[in-house]
């Protein structure tokens, strides 16, 4: 079944939202999630006890969707499963834009009544060309509009960005919306699509491909309804914007778990991986990696090769960083002679090393000697045998000094932010202080806000950079093969 771009636009940019059947037992999950919605919110509930509590929250309650005195763009349905067909019939009569079925208990249960109800819902939606999301899902989030799919998500410009997310898991979609904005991944739109009975992953992918607010697409997928269509949509998306795919159920036991979760068919993981590569998408193995890759893509610097110039403050981290980049499939070559000549003018080899990695703590005063740090970064940037630059701040050793001398810390951040702007090569900064996780996270967040691409570990930095280099390489060679497209 196919829906028009306009139908999705209305669903993802609603002016009026109605929540049907939210109740105290659920902690008024939906009404609380939508309390910052910038448009108009209605509740539909007939139980007098519930209505009192709903009205106490300041939400207008009506007894039926049909009682709402204006057009409704988006409806969240949280009623028991056997009532859903009746509510959907009201949605059709009211000509609403789209419906999210939060209600679970359909084909994923495997019981005949659930399967029958799901078939009934699908037929109802098809006949009325009604965009139904789910069932068994958390629906749409457009955080810019305060349209959340869980309470306490960041909203407005603080959460907004260019990454669109499709999730076959409510939890993964919610956590993406919670984590993304604080980890440098602003969100354009997110949708949890559950059993995806009416609108499938491919439909959302097509919408996000054509959505000008979205420049990077990420998805958590367990299985797709029509594999060929998904492959075709994916293949025609990756030349336009990168698609990051996190596949759930890659083990045999995980595949069994998929069926009771979203009732999706299992595909052997080797086939899935081959399909992803064939389509030019990026396969990741965790939400951490998904966010790392998205952040790297958003930084917008494209590497033309995989030769890394590495900077660390001290010996051990410089060795481990080198291992991390090498194991991720990158090269760590020597710099050019011209670079070593320039470095020789000021680099302190006592207590350091100027091969690659550059063990530079004594030269750049653990980051606090701004002049030398700047010179060093410029030399690595100008070096023609280096494609990407990564620097471990050695924050575990310096975090106390950052806090004690905030002006010095600001000066360091200024240099990193200016260089991140200026560089043509991807520039990754590793910030970690395992004994002071909250301080390290704050430092990362500050740097991210100032446009510096930060990571928690050299391993994660290396892997994300490697993934992006492969994506850019595939896209470039595809463009060379077919210059017309």
């Amino acid at each position: 079944m196919s829906f028009s771009h306009a139908q999705f636009e209305r669903a993802f940019h609603p002016r009026v939202i109605a929540v049907v059947g939210d109740k105290q037992m659920n902690g008024f999950l939906w009404l609380r999630a939508l309390q910052h919605f910038s448009g108009k919110l209605y509740s539909v509930q007939i139980d007098p006890n519930e209505i009192a509590a709903i009205e106490a929250m300041g939400v207008t309650n009506v007894h039926s969707l049909l009682d709402i005195p204006e057009a409704v763009d988006y409806v969240v349905v949280a009623v028991p499963r056997n009532v859903t067909p009746r509510v959907l019939a009201d949605c059709v009569r009211k000509q609403v834009g789209a419906v999210t079925l939060f209600t679970a208990g359909f084909s994923e249960t495997g019981d005949p009544e659930g399967v029958r109800l799901e078939t009934e819902i699908a037929a109802l939606a098809r006949d009325a060309n009604l965009l139904v999301i789910g069932p068994n899902c958390m629906g749409i989030a457009n955080l810019r509009l305060g349209m959340c799919n869980f309470p306490n998500q960041l909203v407005g410009e603080a959460a907004a960005g260019c990454v669109g997310f499709i999730g076959q898991s409510g939890t993964h979609t919610i956590t993406f919306c919670l984590r993304g904005p604080v980890e440098g991944v602003g969100i354009s739109k997110a949708v949890s699509c559950g059993n995806a009975v009416v609108a499938d992953v491919s439909d959302y992918l097509e919408y996000l491909r054509d959505d000008p607010d979205t420049t990077v697409i990420a998805a958590y997928i367990e299985g797709v309804r029509n594999g060929r269509r998904f492959f075709d949509v994916l293949r025609h998306t990756t030349p336009i914007k990168p698609v990051i795919l996190w596949k759930g159920g890659v083990s045999e036991a995980g595949q069994r778990a998929i069926f009771s979760h979203t009732a999706a068919l299992a595909t052997p993981v080797a086939v899935w991986r081959g399909m992803v590569r064939q389509a030019g998408a990026i396969a990741v193995e965790s939400q951490d990696e998904l966010l790392d890759v998205a952040r790297t893509l958003l930084a917008g610097k494209v590497a033309t090769g995989s030769r890394a110039g590495l900077i660390a403050m001290t010996g051990g981290p410089s060795v481990v960083m080198t291992d991390a980049f090498t194991q991720a499939g990158m090269d760590v070559p020597p710099l050019t002679d011209a670079s070593y000549d320039k470095l020789g003018e000021f680099f302190q080899v006592v207590g350091g090393s100027l091969r690659n990695p550059l063990d530079a703590g004594s030269t750049i005063g653990m980051g606090f000697r701004s002049d030398n740090l700047e010179r060093l970064l410029q030399i690595v940037l100008a070096d023609c045998s280096i494609d990407v630059i990564a620097m471990d701040l050695g924050a575990a050793l310096s975090i106390d000094r950052y806090l004690e001398y905030p002006t010095l810390a600001t000066a360091l951040a200024d240099i990193l932010a200016a260089f991140a702007q200026y560089t043509t090569k991807p520039f990754a900064v590793i910030v970690d202080a395992p004994h002071r996780p909250a301080d390290a996270a704050r430092l990362r967040a500050d740097l991210l806000r100032r446009g510096v691409l930060t990571f928690v570990s050299p391993q994660r930095a290396a892997r994300a950079l490697r993934q992006c280099i492969e994506y850019w390489g595939t896209r470039r060679s595809a463009e060379e093969e077919e210059p017309s497209s």
Binding site: R228, L265, A266, A270, R273, G274, M275, Q278
Partner: protein, 229 residues
């Protein structure tokens, strides 16, 4: 979840039928013919030039070696005649219920090739997919295989080979010459094209394909096709 319509069933193609299908699609195969008697086998060995391989032909036998149905490197037509009779006895003893069509006779492939396997199957979500990997122990133990959806582009065929952990064996390692990668890519593209034109193919196995510095050669093959009842 493959749902077969009641009127549809599958039929196994034997080595000779499958090789004919592959040859028509432009895939190099060892010339292979069916002998129903020991005398016919000897005559074929004479014509195809020894040494030859003799393999049982029966729709009921999937694992030919396990059934005693493979004899390799037979040096003369006389040896072939003896081996034919011995094979029929051995297979009948192990699988008395199997219907035996005879044995296939084919020249031994030259030594020194790298064993590669190529397969086509049907995925419940994605339809026809193609697989390739390095043969023997590498495929069984390490599962060093690459998959793609059919049809393949040249870039896909190339990446299927380079992403194998054992790719250095194909590229050449420690003074051992590499194989003709272009020919291997071409074989993958031809098998992909064959499957794309034949939606009735449920399974197709080329195992092994021998890859040499100058060419590639499918030495054994089997297929499963869908037929209307």
């Amino acid at each position: 979840m493959l749902c077969y319509h009641a009127a549809v069933t599958t039929r196994a193609l034997n080595e000779i039928e499958t090789k004919a299908l592959l040859a028509a699609a432009g895939v190099a195969v060892t010339p292979t013919e069916l002998a129903r008697t020991a005398a016919a086998a000897a005559a074929l060995a004479e014509r195809l030039a020894c040494p030859v391989a003799l393999k049982i032909v029966s729709a009921d036998i999937v694992h030919k070696s396990d059934a005693g149905g493979v004899r390799l490197g037979l040096a003369s037509p006389a040896d072939v005649a003896v081996a034919f009779d011995e094979m029929m006895h051995a297979v009948r003893a192990r699988q008395p219920a199997a219907h035996l069509d005879g044995a296939s006779v084919q020249p031994m492939a030259p030594p020194g090739g790298v064993e590669v396997i190529v397969g086509v199957s049907v995925d419940a979500q994605f339809g026809h997919v193609i697989m390739c990997g390095l043969g023997g122990v590498l495929v069984e133990v390490l599962q060093d295989v690459a998959f793609r959806l059919i049809p393949l582009q040249l870039r896909d065929a190339r990446e299927m080979l380079t992403e194998l952990h054992g790719f250095p064996l194909l590229r050449g390692v420690r003074g051992r010459p590499g194989v003709n990668l272009r020919a291997l890519e071409e074989l993958l593209l031809r098998v992909s094209k064959l499957a794309a034109q034949r939606p009735d193919i449920q399974e197709l196995d080329l195992n092994p394909v021998l890859a040499y510095p100058d060419r590639v050669l499918a030495v054994d093959a089997r297929a499963l096709i869908e037929v209307q009842r």
